[in-house]
């Protein structure tokens, strides 16, 4: 399971992509992924918001993940 990071999220994890290779580590839902990130990188809890995109669409917490999706961490957007 590969996860893309952008903006401040990239700065927090120090990388534009992380690979969750261990079966045990793979979160099965968007909510679990977010929890895992906040546990590993407490800086995420300080953000205004944290969204997840699955296959380049915003995904709600209950969306399940099988590991083959394109997953991205979306910190608060600030375009325009």
């Amino acid at each position: 399971m590969n996860v893309l990071f952008f903006g401040i999220a990239k700065d927090i994890v120090g990388n534009s992509e992380l690979i969750f290779s261990e079966e045990l580590n793979k979160p099965r839902t968007v909510a679990a992924l977010k929890k895992q990130l906040v546990d590993s990188y407490p800086e995420f809890s300080k953000l205004n918001a944290l969204a997840v995109a699955v296959n380049s669409e915003y995904a709600t917490d209950d969306v399940t993940l099988n590991g083959s999706e394109e997953i991205a961490i979306i910190p608060p957007v600030s375009g325009g």
Binding site: L4, F6, G7, I8, D11, K46, L47, N48, A53, S56, E57, Y58, A72, I74, P75, P76, V77, S78, G79, G80
Partner: protein, 138 residues
């Protein structure tokens, strides 16, 4: 209906009228967002824009489609720049053309407001001694 949705390195503001011009339109409304020299009285040196491009284009497409559903529009443009932009440089241009001006004004406002809310683009403000990701923290 013609939609132009793009993420580019450099915005050419001069081209947008030709893109929105239309025999069935009596009005064209365009908004251009530019880099402002000061934020909260701190001098901005540059803005750096980053995007998740595949998703950003999809979200911009959705915004155009929602605008077309809500208003009677002939043409719509949403174009955002990425990379580093200096003071007074354009970073985003959105616009719409319609038979009457109510529709293009309202749609243009909707385009920029919604783009700022939903499109995965991130802006870092570069000051003399620090850089800040805009809107990241409360």
């Amino acid at each position: 209906m013609k939609k132009i949705i793009e993420i580019v390195d450099t915005i050419e503001t001069a081209q947008v009228y030709a893109e929105l011009s239309d025999a069935k339109s009596g009005g064209i409304c365009v908004f251009v967002g530019t880099v402002r020299e000061f934020t909260n009285e701190e001098e901005v040196v540059a803005l750096e824009f980053e995007t998740y491009k595949t998703m950003a284009l999809k979200e911009m497409e959705k915004i155009a489609d929602r605008a077309i559903e809500k208003w009677n529009l002939n043409k719509v443009v949403l174009r955002h720049a990425v990379g580093e932009k200096g003071v007074a440089e354009p970073v985003v241009v959105v616009g719409a053309s319609s038979a009457h001006r109510d529709a293009c004004f309202e749609a243009c406002r909707f385009l920029i407001d919604t783009l700022k809310e939903t499109v995965p683009i991130w802006k870092k403000e570069k000051f003399k001694n620090k850089s800040v990701w805009v809107s990241a923290h409360p």
